[in-house]
Symmetry: C2
């Protein structure tokens, strides 16, 4: 039985999350399948921007650190993230970029483990590039001779030894959408005395995450993908409560001090999650992220996951229906249980096809060397959109629109 536009429209009409789409500003006629790279604009962000810029900054000026409670933004926003990732209210803080935060938590985990003679950091090949780059920089610069080992994910838990300090993995792979079994990997790592740092950038707000349930140690994640915090939005850090007051992190700035406004000469870390803060937080950026988080405050994550699975299943099925024999290969798991909210295809002409799709009003993205990547943000992607996206893809292939010379030259795409 084939999947019809009629069926997909029926699914939209009974979708319990359908009304969330109205809370986002989306360009007319555009099908946006790139919320895994940059989330859409919540309508409420416009008013919030006006308020924080014109009232809190313009009129309140320096007083707003207290009167508008800017000083507690990092912790308040962190608390709003905790239900999405299965953390306790005081285990998450918002700060800096994912890259900077990864440096902090891996260094913190490493310092704990180096005391036990463990110096090895393990990650997988093809992990999100900036994570790998940060680990490389960290190994070159930090004391104690940390060593970076790269192993296929399937081999990692078997290769953990008494040398292994930390395993660093991205929960949902940025390219394939493959989802690791957080609980099983964490358990096996712990059995061998290793700690695990999870990058939740492609999970948070897309699939339910249960850090506490997995007994997770440390995590970081992104604010501008499914959380819809705006381009380059601040990221977040999770540190399990059992480590609070027991870790050190190298980027020990004044917002992590026990008495930041006493302006003392010597650093003394505050004993809670704020220890992971560094410099003065970006207030306007935080305020925009909070709007995205407040929407999630009303989302049932199980409903979200069900919709996400249905969206991605439907996309895969429709591509098989309409674009068979077009040279596409599914690069994501077919089994939805181990797949995030994205679907990747490979095609030798991947770059040009993605450009032709964008030209036709369907935005996905390309990842070298041959990946077409489509993200399905369940808060604003409709089932009908899936139909239209695949029809457009079929049209691009049938008419060979990708051959247009405008689509041949590779440009920077984030």
């Amino acid at each position: 039985m084939t999947l019809s536009l009629h069926t997909l429209r029926e699914w939209d009409s009974t979708d319990p999350l359908a009304s969330f789409r109205d809370e986002f500003d989306l360009p007319d006629g555009l099908i946006y399948l790139n919320g895994n790279s940059l989330g859409a604009l919540p309508k409420a962000a416009k008013q919030r921007a006006q308020q924080v810029i014109e009232q809190e900054w313009g009129q309140g000026l320096i007083r707003s650190w207290n009167t508008a409670d800017w000083v507690n933004q990092p912790r308040r926003l962190g608390q709003k993230i905790t239900p999405l990732i299965g953390a306790k209210a005081e285990e998450v803080v918002v700060a800096d970029s994912t890259s900077v935060n990864l440096f902090k938590v891996v260094a913190a985990a490493l310092a704990l483990q180096q005391k036990k003679g463990r110096h090895e950091i393990i990650t997988e090949p093809g992990n999100f590039p900036t994570d790998r780059y940060i680990l490389q920089g960290l190994c070159q610069s930090l004391a104690g001779d940390p060593v970076l080992t790269t192993l296929p994910a399937t081999e990692i838990t078997d290769r953990i030894s008494e040398q292994t300090a930390v395993v660093v993995l991205t929960h949902v792979h940025y390219k394939s959408g493959q989802m690791h079994d957080m609980k099983a990997i964490t358990r096996k790592a712990h059995e061998q005395g290793a700690l695990v740092v999870w990058d939740l950038s492609h999970s948070t707000g897309a699939v339910p995450v249960d850090l506490n349930g997995a007994d997770a140690d440390f995590a970081v994640g992104c604010g501008y993908k499914y959380l819809n915090g705006g381009p380059g939005a601040p990221a977040f850090i999770y540190v399990a409560e059992r480590f609070h007051g027991k870790v050190e992190q190298p980027l020990s700035g004044w917002f992590g001090h026990s008495a930041p406004f006493a302006m003392l000469d010597d650093y003394e870390a505050v004993g809670d999650i704020r220890q992971m803060l560094t410099g003065t937080p970006s207030v306007v950026a935080n305020s925009l992220l909070e709007v995205g988080l407040d929407i999630y405050g009303r989302v049932d994550m199980q409903q979200l996951r069900e919709k996400s699975v249905r969206l991605t299943d439907a996309f895969i099925e429709l591509v098989e229906q309409s674009c068979a024999d077009r040279g596409f290969t599914l690069a994501s798991p077919k089994d939805s249980k181990v797949r995030g909210s994205q679907v990747s295809l490979t095609h030798p002409q991947g770059y040009a096809i993605v450009q032709a799709l964008i030209d036709q009003g369907v935005i996905g993205d390309y990842r070298a060397p041959d990946i077409l990547r489509f993200g399905f943000a369940p808060l604003y992607v409709r089932f009908e959109d899936i139909w239209l996206a695949v029809e457009t893809l079929k049209n691009v292939m049938d008419k060979e629109l990708w051959r247009d010379e405008r689509f041949q030259k590779q440009q920077a795409v984030t």
Copy 2:
């Protein structure tokens, strides 16, 4: 001869920078002497925020990395800072917070020097606290056993030895407003083989800085003070061209990669100033900062310095005229040649006096243990404001308004 309100109003009427005040939104009736802590809101920031949020993010979505040139923001903004600090167009980039950036440049300088057997970092007591905290965290975490030595500024250049890797100083002191002789200190450090990192947070946009003229090595600075970039605005980094392609910094994220969008497994630093970038930049925050920088593009820095000296001189003179025998001591240099654009006074009741002043509509700030700090942002502070501020201070002291119990309890003030 005493300074009269009439004279100050005359100065305002002939001030070549007077019209810049109209470009800022300032609350009616408020005298804002805290632009050294958080700059005022440029009116144009409101439209720019709307544009970047509603058009670039909302409508352009992911495409704006190219179509709105988000990808080049860090370098473009850096270029706009260079005339204010005497740097070449390609020597400055905007990124992260001042604290994070200080970690990067000190680590970069240290790595160069460790190859020569130099491991000591020298700074002064009472340097901006977060700078000291970052240096402490860096010395505890980085390889090569870096050691932090704290010496009174007057002793530093004499104490530089063949062990000394880097001297880290804030150009204009956050508390006293005392300005170091950048050229002389840099020269003496270089003579001994040491490098110097300058924190320009309290200088940039307040006093002309000539990094190239001083043969400066590295610098960082703040975007939210005199540059008026908004609360927690991104900061900047200067690296002298002679070090480009020759340094390493530990926070090696994807925006510092030679081919960020190729998504390669291994880090390879780009050979220019962008190497100091780490994660995805905060686009909205950068866009607001750019508004502040564009105003400076039309400012004559010598005129700005002349006005700044006149404002601070007038303030000191009026305090002497009106508040003699009130227990105040000048905590800033009397000689304007070694003073930034701020004036600090000490008083045993400093905290309560500042609170009473704020209550009366004059915003300065308090720094423990006894400092009343007043910043004079020459773009929007009028000479008349100085008169009104000192009259208000006189009134607070004459009527002992600071004794009000509301002003006794210390709260967080940034």
